[in-house]
Amino acid sequence: MALTQPDLTTQIGPLSLRNPVIAASGTFGYGLELETLVDLNLLGALVVKGLSLKPMPGNPPPRIVETPGGMLNAIGLANIGLEAFLRDKLPRLRTYTTPIIVNLYGHRTEEYGELASELRGVEGIAALEVNISCPNVECGGMAFGIDPVTSARVTEAVVRNTDKPVIVKLSPNVTDIKTVAKAVEGAGAHALSLINTLTGMAIDVETRRPKLANVFGGLSGPAIKPIALYMVYQVARTVKIPVIGMGGIMDHKDAVEFLMVGARAVEIGTATFVNPRTTLEVIEGIRAYCAEKGIRKIGEIVGSLRT
């Protein structure tokens, strides 16, 4: 009897992925930094470092600190800006067959729209992922993503100005993530990805100073996985659009958990720092899991949680 390979393809709205494993924004640079270690063509998709209209220098150091089971970062969305991205990075990324997703952010609602508009019709960009965890200068630096109304406005601004699928990346730093998810869905998002990092801090008791120059930062890594999983579980049952799950995934079992609560794909972030090939190992792990369980299509796992 010929053993057929399990079908790992998954559909995120209009976007077809060869497998459900995506390299998360901010942890994979522009992909090119890791191309000698990871065959980018094997990834389900690759989300590049958060992009803004103008280059951003980022926060003063120290920008990262390890905490039990995770890490805090306050990079400050450092990036090369739209122009350099289109000139220096995208042409090389186009040589890969993997869908390239551009994560974007702004400090004002109209900046999101402007950036989306600049990327309209640009070849080699499969989708946009909207970072709504960025501080909103119009609202005293409060993140867009903590409020359903500002989240929906940013989503609309992007959707209105793009020809590409729009994935909105939700912040977990909210009272009820379902409310924000519904607002973003209502504003026309094609998919949701969650969770972004959880806000936290760490202190050096000898110096009484925060360990991050920015005082606080975003917590990621295995420490946040149970929180992320529950949020994905809640959101996947609330919205009709596809959900991409992330938060502390270290191996294929973690990834399968996210699929079981309803995610159609997963993003891998901090684990790439621990092992640059985690994404590929997760793909292989999911494949082996499916083969072992007699699962023919990845869709059979999605939302299959028994309660």
Partner: protein
């Protein structure tokens, strides 16, 4: 750059708090240049989570050497590792020291564990003119270069408490040397930030070429996460450099020493 499971060939203390580990990797040993570093996953599992960066302190055949001071959980765990165990190593990473023309005499200034890349630099180029100056807190902290590389070349030592060598900072030794002759010298420095700052300020004032090796908290080591930023000098077009990719070796004049 490679990501490989490397066998520990030896792991021994060289002072009361500093250890030397030799790992077998023909690939890394062949590719490594002085100033470059490796990211080591100290232990499988989630604690510690991230890899730790270590300067490469020498190569011998298919082995490369890592000198480490026990400062936290990761390095404490490293002391428990035995010969024959294997570790995931990513490297060699970052830029290496640039070497000026032969007419330059090199002054290597190291503070504490910061001597690691300088020992590799001196050995790699087999440069007889290179003078090694090392600063330590006390006599008991002195790391013998002979113990590390087996070389038997001269060096001078300064200790903060005067228990051995010059009583005072290692930068005094540099000052003295520069007073004798500051022509056609190039300075290479690695060590604590106040020491580097002093070396940088002095060499810049005298317009002597100076390269420094910086350290930073790092997550990826590949230039992907932007976690290891260092402030660039005001004269630079950039605000920050990434230590892992654009460093760890920098020209002293490219760094904003006020911020350090």
């Amino acid at each position: 750059m490679f990501e490989l499971l490397n066998e520990i060939v030896s792991n021994q203390p060289v002072t009361h708090d500093t250890w030397l580990m030799a790992l077998r990797s023909a690939e890394i040993a062949r590719a490594a240049k002085p100033g470059q570093f490796v990211m080591i996953r100290v232990k499988p599992g989630l604690d510690p989570l991230l890899r730790r960066p270590f300067s490469i302190c020498g190569v011998k055949g298919d082995l490369f050497l890592v000198l480490y001071r026990v400062v936290g959980k990761g390095t404490s765990l490293m002391t428990q590792l035995r010969q024959g165990e294997r570790l995931w190593v990513l490297g060699p990473l970052g830029k290496s020291f640039a070497v000026p023309g032969k007419s330059f005499s090199r002054l290597l200034v190291g503070g504490g564990i910061g001597i690691a890349p300088l020992l590799f630099l001196r050995e790699f180029h087999g440069e007889k003119k290179a003078a090694l100056m090392m600063g330590f807190r006390s006599a008991k902290d002195i790391i013998s270069p002979q113990r590390i590389t087996g070389e038997d070349r001269s060096f001078v030592v300064a200790t903060d408490d005067g228990t051995k060598g010059h009583h005072g900072p290692v930068t005094d030794l540099l000052e003295e040397r520069l007073r004798e002759n500051a022509g056609d010298v190039a300075v290479y420095a690695c060590g604590p930030k106040p020491m580097l700052k002093k070396v940088a300020e002095r060499t810049m004032a005298l317009r002597i070429p100076c390269q420094v090796s910086l350290e930073a908290h790092m997550a990826c080591g590949l230039g992907a996460c932007q976690g290891c930023a260092v402030k660039a000098a005001a004269s630079s077009a950039r605000m920050y450099f990434s230590v892992c990719k654009e460093g760890p070796i920098f020209e002293a004049e490219d760094i904003d020493w006020e911020m350090i």
